[in-house]
């Protein structure tokens, strides 16, 4: 009790005779509604996420912490929030819910989502598949600039480029979403400047690691969202950091202020529980014919690239196809020969075609049969998903598996949405093998299957993560088995053994990878390009090995840095009950 005198309290009990009188003449059919009405009269108007019931539960499984975060960001933080959940808890889903709700309430006439370049398309697919929200991406053909569309997902660097910057800044956006918001931690960068100047009504910033180096990173990010919340930079620093010890002081007050703008869910506090994942990487000795083909294609790619770097995309394709299937390779080469009027390498390409024709046994195809047979014997309805990047490989596999008597299903980007739906239903009901290209998108609910085969490997690790995410997701109750197939001494084996295993790609928590990759992007490199450049430019086998080792070291460093950051942020926010204290 404080040091003041208390005022009097008078308690009155009203008799309400009418109530007791009604007992003798009660016609009680409607008593239940009276109870409810009285309870509603006593209740406070409450906001709710009204769009949630419109969502398809098969497309998106919403978790309590996500719904709660979306609710708080919208209604308790007035639509300006820093979503800082730990990795893998579904920050994108939270933003999807927020945007869906804003759409439902008609408060989203213009929305700009800025992401790292590598994640833009993924955002676009997720928002469409899970929430039915259509966005145009700056990588789409129909993208006509920032003034031409109202719902845009773009890489932050495109938005800040000379060409687009003024258009972005000249509009007033209803909603701004900024993924990997730690990108704007430094107030002296163009990125920070762009976000600082963009005009918007609502903003949602996402990052698992709001603090990259020092506490002022947090100050910068939060100040973009809520200018003034922390006062001036100097005051903030002096008040919250003990500069002698480099430790936090006045934690409670920091928490209190952060609570007004930041939501951080921790993995340990949610009910997310992933089952185990077993990785079985199988490398096989190619036949002499396959080896000869591989060498010929690799030599050709190297030679052609050194002559003309403009052909990079098609050369990269050939290099990927040669380890996927001779059929895929054949199709591209024939197309090349057919389409190009001024071919400089006709002879080489034709001799590659001859080598392809000499191949009778496709080793990976044979070995795939071992895996699916094992599954047929041991797994419910023998369900296996086989992923390949190429339609030609897919066709070959389907033919071969059908010939061997397996029930097969084919999934690729050419199907309509209804057909895709039907294919997944058939696969669930009939079992057997689903051979899919990477068109199998986020929204598909495939956790009824727990075996996946990477028949070939994308050079973009995000794609590998997406494949895994199709079956190893919330709701998967069984242990998940992932088989990786590669031919010995090929680019695929290098990528698999020297890179993907180094960063523990196959054991990563979903979401963890993006923090590693966006760190790489920050240094200006693209993963696929790097792989190809190293391959094409290596003078010898040893050079190549060394190059890959060097890349692996880089990756490992980035992974360690990402992990350290995660740990650091957990440490800083430990003891902060950032999600609950206002309840």
């Amino acid at each position: 009790m404080g040091d003041y005198d208390l005022v009097d309290v008078e308690v009155t009990h009203e008799d309400n005779d009418e109530l007791f009188d009604s007992l003798s003449r009660s016609d009680s059919d409607e008593h239940l509604q009276t109870l409810q009405a009285v309870r509603l009269q006593a209740g406070q108007p409450d906001s709710e996420l009204r769009s949630l019931k419109q969502l398809d539960e098969d497309s998106v499984k919403m978790l309590e912490h996500q719904v709660d975060a979306a609710y708080r960001a919208l209604f308790e933080m007035d639509g300006k929030a820093l979503l800082a959940d730990e990795v893998g808890l579904g920050k994108t889903i939270e933003v999807g819910m927020i945007l869906k709700e804003m759409h439902f309430r008609d408060t989203d006439d213009s929305v700009l989502i800025l992401t790292p370049a590598q994640l833009a398309k993924q955002w676009q697919a997720e928002l469409l598949e899970k929430f039915g929200l259509e966005f145009v991406c700056n990588y789409d053909d129909e993208f006509d600039g920032f003034g031409a569309h109202d719902y845009i997902i773009a890489s932050i660097d495109t938005a800040k480029s000379e060409r687009h910057r003024m258009t972005v800044l000249n509009r007033n956006w209803d909603v701004l979403v900024l993924d990997e918001a730690h990108y704007v931690k430094n107030e002296e960068t163009d990125r920070y400047d762009l976000i600082d100047q963009i005009s918007y009504d609502y903003a949602f910033f996402l990052t698992a690691t709001p603090i990259q180096n020092e506490l002022t990173d947090l100050y910068n990010i939060v100040s973009l969202l809520r200018p003034g919340l922390f006062g001036t930079r100097d005051v903030f620093y002096h008040y919250f950091v003990d500069s002698n010890q480099e430790t936090l002081v006045n934690r409670e007050e920091l928490q209190e202020r952060l609570n007004k703008v930041m939501i951080r869910n921790r993995r340990a506090e949610t009910d997310i529980d992933f089952t185990d994942r077993t990785i079985d990487t199988r490398t096989f000795q190619p036949t002499p014919e396959e080896r000869e083909l591989y060498e010929a294609v690799s030599d050709y790619v190297k030679g052609a690239y050194s002559e003309d770097q403009g052909q990079k995309l098609v050369l990269m394709l050939l290099q990927k196809e040669v380890v996927s299937s001779p059929a895929a390779l054949k199709q591209t080469i024939e197309k090349q020969l057919h389409e190009q009027s001024e071919l400089t390498h006709t002879d080489e390409l034709e001799s590659i075609l001859e080598l392809i024709d000499r191949i009778d046994t496709v080793t990976k195809q044979e070995r795939l049969l071992d895996i699916v047979e094992e599954a047929r014997e041991n797994v419910e309805m023998g369900r296996v998903i086989v992923f390949t990047q190429f339609r030609a490989t897919q066709r070959e596999l389907l033919d071969r598996l059908a010939t061997e008597g397996y029930t097969v299903h084919s999934f690729h980007g050419g199907h309509s949405s209804e057909e895709k739906e039907q294919i997944v239903t058939n696969f669930e009901e009939e079992g057997g093998v689903l051979v899919s290209t990477d068109a199998m998108n986020e929204g598909r609910n495939l956790q009824f299957c727990n075996i996946m085969v990477n028949y070939d490997l994308p050079w973009n690790p995000m794609k590998v993560e997406q494949r895994i995410g199709r079956i190893h997701r919330i709701g998967q109750k069984r242990e998940v088995y992932i088989f990786n197939m590669a031919l010995e001494d090929t680019i695929e084996e290098y990528v698999l053994e020297r890179l993907y295993h180094k960063i523990d790609l196959f054991q990563q928590t979903v979401g963890q990878l993006s923090s590693i990759l966006t760190r790489l992007e920050d240094t200006g490199s693209s993963f696929e390009d790097e792989i190809f450049e190293r391959l094409a430019n290596a003078d010898s086998e040893i050079d190549l090995e060394n190059d890959f080792d060097a890349m692996a070291v880089d990756l490992e460093e980035q992974r360690e840095l990402a992990e350290k950051l995660e740990e650091f942020n957990s440490g800083v926010f430990q003891g902060f009950d950032l999600g609950e204290s206002d309840d």
Binding site: M1, D5, E14, N16, S22, L23, H31, T34, Q36, R39
Partner: protein, 386 residues
Amino acid sequence: MTDAALSVTQSTIEQFTEEYLHTLGCDINKQAGRWSVIVPEEAETDIATGKLTLVCSTDPDEVGDEEALHPESSFFHALLEEASERSPTGRVSITAADTEIILPSWLVQSEVSLKKTEFTPYYDRTALVALFRLGIETVSEYQTELLHAIAVDTRSDEILPELSDTLLSRTLIGQETVQCERTQVDPDSAKQLVKHVRETVVEDIQPRIDEVHEAASRSADAEIEEYRRLQQQRIEELEEARTSLVNRIDDLSVSIEESDGQEQRAEALKKRKELKSELEEVESELGSLRKRREQGFPEKQREIRERHALEVVATPVTLTEVQYEQGEVDFTLTNQTVTRTITVGYGSGVGVTETIECDRCGTALSEENPVSWVDGEVRCENCSSP
């Protein structure tokens, strides 16, 4: 006792409105947030007649000349008002078949595995569940309105906290309807029961009362302090006025003594008299103010504190007679090798109705001292600690 208020969301009020209109016999045709409602002539309601269009929106342009349906709309408030007065008393039955077995805290907190529960009803009992509207009012705070439920056994007068929870959760909006019947309890007995529990209801909201009480007391204190400051300011003003008057009177006295002209002197004398009377008034006010200051302005304090006093008003607003089953429940406990059964008095919707003591030490089982295994026997946790 339970907080009985429901959150008022758009979906809840839509659901409630639809159910209420159906009860009135209305026909509803819903299309994209617009409800075309036909109210039958014989419907006993004052909220609408004939045809009516409800628009689920807060946007006046969208609503136009129709009725808006949202938590703040006047139509919804009128409907709520009518529904809340329609049938404040009724009777429902809660059987074991309708509810899950309520586990006692000494079992919930325990690490002992529960293998099976089995309830055997012996006879029916009745309880009265009252919803109390509790208003806490004071000038400095917004009025606090609470709604609390309390259940009391009609025969034993025992308060049954779990039963009010059970009734509230069984009668939520949108749930399968429980059957309501005519009440059997007579008004006098009901009155006695309500009298018996009403103090408890107020006691249970005591923390909230304390909170408002402290805030109101702080406001009163602040007001008194402000009054004190004003009075101090007034004292200072009066002191200044007094000094000035004294000076002016002194000056006049000098000029009277030194004055040669009769008329001038008379004028000064008159003026001095006026000033002296003014000085008396000032000194009198100053004296009285200083005295009051020394005493701490008791009257003003009393007046302010009275104005800030809290008024708590408790009013029973609904009475639900609840018939429940009384019997025994068997909790079969196991530790993989041994299985033991504890039989204990139990009421449907009420929970365990008797205290269980540890066979070894005689201590009552509780949340803090849950049941435990000791040498293959069911004991309390205290007995299992070395």
